[in-house]
């Protein structure tokens, strides 16, 4: 049987060691193989693509362009193919990000990325926080509702359609922590750092979605 290929994009935005390790553990003995995407790629080879990211929105977008990953990725997403974006890898699905300047995003899920507003909040939002499900979905079955995941971010996805939000988290106010449109998922937290429930979520994405 031909193995399904999972692409893990190294956008030079934080190290990919933990997510790489997590995927390998999950696909061991299963009909999948993992390929790291570091540059221009043929998107027809992949059945799933995962993009972890840390740090700045603008940096990740410009890295993806520099590495010639942006175009094939954009096409892949425009065709509603299976994707999991982690943290900034989720945020760049939006129309635009507002940091020091405004950066155009991939424009896959309507909305924009803005900083947490309240002056009373400790920023970044760093640590374990729980998610509340809006609706059931293959990647967040297995009783992941109300479980804690590890977050590190100062920006959140705003002006998103409610129908694209699978789960919310509360920090100062409610913000989207898992989003979905078609076959495209984004998680604001780091499942690869979130112990067993995080691994559960990655496993569900790979095996069930």
């Amino acid at each position: 049987m031909k193995k399904k290929v999972i692409g893990l994009i190294d956008g030079q935005s934080g190290n990919i060691g933990s997510i790489n390790k997590a995927i390998k553990e999950i696909i061991k003995g299963r009909p999948y193989q993992l390929k790291i995407i570091k540059g221009e790629f043929d998107n027809s080879l992949f059945s799933k693509i995962i993009l972890p990211g840390q740090g700045a929105y603008a940096t990740l977008i410009s890295n993806l362009k520099k590495l010639k990953i942006y175009k094939p990725l954009k096409k892949y997403l425009d065709n509603n193919r299976s994707y999991l974006g982690i943290c900034v890898g989720m945020q760049i699905l939006s129309d635009q990000g507002h940091e020091d300047k405004t950066t155009k995003g991939l424009g896959i899920i309507a909305g924009e990325i803005k900083k947490f507003k309240s002056k009373k909040l400790i920023i970044p939002h760093m640590g374990w926080n729980s998610i509340r499900l809006n609706k059931e979905d293959p990647i967040i079955t297995n009783n992941l509702d109300n479980k804690d995941f590890y977050f590190v971010h100062s920006y959140i996805f705003q002006n998103i359609k409610k129908s694209n939000v699978l789960a919310n988290t509360h920090y100062g106010k409610k913000f989207p922590s898992i989003i979905k449109k078609g076959n495209i998922y984004g998680v604001q937290f780091h499942p690869e750092k979130s112990h067993k429930y995080g691994l559960n979520l990655i496993k569900n994405y790979i095996l069930k979605s």
């Binding site: 840390q54 740090g55 700045a56 909040l121 920023i123 970044p124 640590g127 804690d148 977050f151 590190v152």
Partner: protein
């Protein structure tokens, strides 16, 4: 709701966890990789490890230890000690650290904080500050408290925030190693003057100390001896805190 993080800290020489009161009488507590694996499994929210004897020879083994630990845990890992230039930070992140903690190198060269946060993002740059009271002022100290710098603690804490630090690891050298509790007044002073997360460090000896640490508005509570000696399990600390109404991940 955001949970208060319980963070065991491993003081490491090569691949061994050691303990020493004020860096004297150093005693081996165990194998670093085994202890890291144990803490990750038993509910630690994050792990911190420091190279406390970063000589050229020990460093290679230490980096290998970081790599080995990153492979066996799936919680965030902060690594510090032995950092002097930007390349040292890159090396640790490449070895699998999620965050890097800079201490005396930042005091010597504050620009390093800005360079590191621009290159790698604020979220992975922790500035460790060692504080001590001296002539009625809270000062920044280096070399394990042996050298008092000219910097005032609060001025420095604000400065590291504006330079791009994502978090402060605040150790009071007045309370470190003696297990009489965190330095609440020093911690409160820091948390009320910055808006980035502060991890409290130095002085935990019993369960109540964790609770008092939480009251300082520190969002992470770091401890070493009480965990390494087996006095408390991470879970029992969290259960205690939960009963006190502190949000924790159980």
């Amino acid at each position: 709701m955001l949970k208060t993080r319980i963070i065991p800290c491993l003081d490491v020489i090569k691949n061994k966890v050691v303990k020493g009161v004020n860096f004297k009488n150093i005693k081996v507590m165990g194998n670093a990789v085994e202890m890291a694996r144990y803490y990750s499994l038993s509910g630690a929210d994050e792990l911190c490890m420091l190279d406390i004897n970063a000589s050229y020879q020990n460093r290679k083994t230490f980096i290998k230890t970081v790599e080995a630990i990153a492979k066996v845990i799936n919680i965030p890992l902060t690594v510090g000690g032995g950092i002097s230039v930007l390349d040292d930070i890159t090396d640790l992140l490449n070895a699998g650290a999620d965050k890097v903690s800079i201490n005396s190198a930042a005091v010597k060269n504050p620009k390093l904080i800005r360079q590191a946060s621009i290159k790698h993002g604020s979220q992975c740059i922790v500035v460790a500050i060692d504080g001590k009271r001296h002539e009625n002022k809270m000062k920044v100290v280096v070399k394990g408290g042996r050298e008092i710098t000219k910097k005032e603690l609060i001025v420095w804490a604000k400065e590291v925030q504006s330079l791009g630090a994502g978090e402060i690891l605040m150790t009071s050298m007045d309370t470190d190693g003696v297990q009489n509790g965190f330095d609440s007044s020093m911690l409160k002073k820091v948390t009320s003057n910055v808006s980035i997360p502060v991890i409290a460090s130095g002085g935990v000896g019993n369960l109540e100390h964790f609770y008092l640490g939480h009251l300082t508005k520190s969002t992470g509570l770091l401890a070493a001896s009480v965990f390494h000696s087996g006095k408390y399990k991470i879970k029992s600390v969290k259960k205690y805190l939960k009963n006190k109404g502190v949000p924790v991940r159980l």
